[in-house]
């Protein structure tokens, strides 16, 4: 993949970009290598070479040279109303397209406003390339205006980071950043760009291969280990597949389905893995974990062979580790060796790409083993104990709203959520038949993620319905991004499940703190309809099923954005539930 001799590569004439990449060579400007470019122009040219279609950015003093180079450059620039909005939008874009989201912010506060998004992308393995302006090199360290030690602040929440000290190294740094962000386990890479570097001139060359001896991700899995796994399948009595977001990153959903169908092993998805296996498939047991299905959690508890493709055994999935898959031989396929054995002891570790591993396994596994009873038992559990809620005429149920969204969009929308109860209901009651249709903040659990992520998702897939299912708490954290929805006329259907509370916090206080609702209720609510209208977005309020169904369909029939406030029952809780500290076998609120 990489070769030596990076240094030897002298500036050569640049080759024309091959093929019909979507790179917007809008003005037909092809920069010639003998020409000197400013650092800012280099940045723009590098983005072209990388085929970047959209840039999420917010200007400021330290990036003025970059913004000057961006002026009428042909790359689409989306202006959020807060830098956090820019980076969550880039995450939504990356989640839906699989391509890196690109972000630009100024120094100091611009950069620190990105920290939450960086941490979020780091936890959920989303490829981002993030540029931050920096004060001029001469004044770095003097507490200059809008100076912050961005490298120091962001180091723990980035896959890698650079501060550019010479304009000549900028093209190679950008090339490396895109390579690192998108290969191996994807993640955010940050480039800190001092203002004088973006003004300084140098020769642009982008041909030298990326040479990183300290970064050589193992893609090709060990075949002997996979043979061991195949042998374990043949002798297993209670096997189960756990499929995480690694399946989506590896674009291995088809291979996974083939493997599950070939071996007849049922599949559990993690929250972030939803869509990696068809939600309507016979062998699908549902999401596992704290608010997972009884069947999925029962399978994870009772299994004797747990095959994990690209999930990191997050605590919300495993529950109390002392009770997790205790009788199981554990096989863990992961592109990141550090995940293997981190939380759960592993018997068959396989480092590599999930897709490559599945290809080998499809060669090694001829058919199902001897576990038909186990499978039919699990499918009975799936049938008898589905996600459920009590339907009555006491008010609009949030679960019903999600089901109705699923019906109205034929299960084919991109669903973007914020964090909390509504997020779990979306995960439970919307069936994702296809990959990359569910955009949610899993690891970091970032409130305020939903609306900007929906903006990025819609830009990444302009022709698909994007339903932003939000809670009233999280929505208010990044509500200003409605301006972006309106400005670019993004046809996002914003659906606010308003329970006038931080519902998940309130639920925990009800269940574990004897109902002491300490600062989790939001009695004062804005008029969401007027709020939408203030941004020239049509707003609707619904309080019952009939009007909800009608308004939803009306909204979906319209070409533009809509905000629908659903006044849902505030006391509704997310069930079933594995209480914190409990094992997956100790679920409460299972369907009677």
């Amino acid at each position: 993949m990489m070769s030596t001799g990076a240094e030897a590569a002298a500036p050569k004439p640049m080759p024309e970009k091959a093929g019909a990449e979507p790179s917007p060579q809008a003005h037909g400007r092809q920069v010639h290598s003998t020409l000197e470019l400013t650092g800012a122009e280099m940045l723009v040219e590098a983005l072209r070479r990388e085929g970047v279609e959209v840039l999420f950015g917010y200007p400021g003093g330290a990036v003025l040279p970059v913004y000057d180079a961006l002026y009428q450059c042909g790359i689409r620039h989306i202006l959020p109303r807060h830098e956090q909005g820019a980076i969550h939008a880039a995450e939504g874009y990356a989640r839906v397209t699989g391509r890196p989201g690109v972000v630009l912010a100024t120094s100091g506060p611009g950069a620190t406003n990105l920290v939450t998004g960086l941490a979020d992308a780091m936890m959920d393995s989303l490829p981002l390339v993030v540029f931050t302006g920096q004060v001029a090199t001469a004044v770095i360290g003097t507490d200059a205006f809008q100076e912050a030690s961005v490298l120091g602040i962001t180091m723990p929440v980035t896959k890698h980071s650079y501060q550019v000290r010479e304009v000549a190294e900028l093209p190679q740094v950008i090339k490396e950043a895109f390579h690192i962000a998108t290969t191996g386990r994807p993640g955010p890479v940050l480039i800190d760009l001092p203002k004088d570097i973006s003004s300084a001139k140098g020769v642009f060359h982008y041909d030298a291969p990326v040479y990183l001896p300290g970064y050589q991700p193992t893609v090709e899995p060990n075949r002997l280990q996979l043979r061991k796994l195949a042998a374990a399948v043949a002798t297993a009595r209670r096997p189960v597949i756990l499929a995480g977001a690694g399946i989506l990153h590896a674009r291995a959903h088809t291979l996974l389905r083939q493997f599950a169908e070939r071996t007849r092993i049922p599949v559990v998805n993690t929250l972030l893995g939803l869509g990696g296996f068809p939600g309507n498939h016979e062998l699908f047991l549902g999401m596992g974990g704290m608010h997972g299905t009884f069947a999925a959690n029962h399978a994870l508890y009772e299994t004797d062979l747990l095959i994990n493709f690209g999930a990191r055994f997050d605590d919300r999935l495993t529950g109390n580790l002392n009770h997790f898959a205790r009788r199981a031989k554990v096989a863990h396929i992961d592109i990141d060796p550090a995940e293997i054995g981190k939380n759960v002891e592993t018997d068959i570790p396989v480092v590599g790409d999930a897709g490559r591993a599945l290809e080998v396994l499809l060669q090694e596994c001829a058919g199902p083993g001897h576990y038909e009873d186990w499978v039919s038992h699990l499918l009975e559990l799936k049938r008898d104990y589905p996600f459920w809620y009590e339907r009555d005429d006491s008010g609009l149920k949030p679960q019903w709203v999600v089901e109705e969204i699923c019906r109205a969009t034929h299960g084919d929308a991109i669903v973007v959520t914020d964090v909390g109860q509504h997020q779990m209901w979306a995960a439970q009651f919307y069936l994702f038949a296809e990959p990359n249709r569910f955009v949610t903040s899993g690891g970091l659990g970032t409130m305020g993620f939903g609306l900007p992520a929906a903006i990025g998702a819609q830009l990444g897939d302009p022709n698909r319905v994007v339903a932003a299912v939000l809670g009233d708490g999280g929505f208010q954290m990044t509500v200003q991004e409605l301006a972006v929805v309106a400005q670019y006329q993004l046809p996002i259907k914003v659906i606010v499940l308003n329970n006038s509370a931080l519902g998940m916090v309130r639920q925990w206080q009800e269940l574990f703190y004897q109902g002491r609702y300490s600062h989790s209720l939001l009695p004062l609510q804005p008029d969401y309809v007027k709020l939408a209208e203030a941004y020239a977005i049509p707003g609707r309020r619904v309080e019952d099923e009939e009007s909800c169904a009608a308004v939803l369909r009306e909204a979906l029939a319209q070409p533009g954005p809509v905000l629908i406030e659903c006044r849902v029952k505030p006391e509704e809780n997310v069930y079933p539930m594995v209480a914190p500290g409990s094992g997956l076998h100790e679920m409460i609120g299972v369907k009677p």
């Binding site: 490298l151 723990p156 980071s161 001896p213 300290g214 550090a338």
Partner: protein
């Protein structure tokens, strides 16, 4: 405690030490000592990290997390390998003229030397394995240690030929079963 010694080769880039220590902070790992210096290769540094734990899973995690860093080129747990490991110590000891001769003869078997002399104190330099340094300190403590500076461990694996020779000798002299 069952300390582990890691030999880490890193790119000598801005922030690399921060990356390593930040990682220990983030993951809640404890360092007993850490030394960094340029290595034999231009642009690369060698770190010797002594972990304050022998817990296998933690050590494995530390190694994997270190290896994930793009600027980390190589990580080796060399604790159980044939290695040479040394640290240097500087000790200022309370020492009126009356005890000075005694002190000098006391430190001699340690191949330690007096590198600075004052009216009431002497400064002693010693190099060796941490156990030897600990032993020297134990001997000097009754005199009154006024100041102490230890570098922490630095180390490398032994020459492979030497290692083979040691193994061969051990076999041929295997009378002592």
């Amino acid at each position: 405690m069952n300390a582990r010694i890691l030999n880490v080769v890193v790119n000598n880039r801005t922030g690399v030490l921060n990356r390593i220590t930040g990682l220990f902070l983030k993951r809640g790992f404890n360092i007993q000592s850490l030394t960094v210096s340029p290595s034999e290769v231009d642009g690369q540094s060698r770190m010797t990290i002594v972990l304050a734990t022998g817990d296998e899973r933690i050590v494995e995690q530390v190694i994997k997390q270190l290896s994930k860093q793009i600027d980390v080129l190589k990580v080796q747990d060399i604790t159980d390998q044939p290695i040479v490991a040394r640290e240097l110590v500087l000790i200022r000891v309370h020492s009126p003229i009356s005890t000075r001769a005694e002190l000098t003869s006391l430190i001699e078997p340690f191949r330690a030397s007096v590198i600075d002399v004052g009216r009431d104190s002497v400064t002693i330099e010693a190099t060796g394995k941490p156990e030897k340094i600990d032993a020297l300190l134990a001997l000097l403590r009754p005199y009154g240690i006024k100041e102490l500076a230890r570098t922490g461990l630095t180390s490398m694996t032994r020459d492979s030929e030497t290692v083979q020779e040691i193994a061969r000798l051990a076999k041929s002299n295997a009378l002592w079963v």
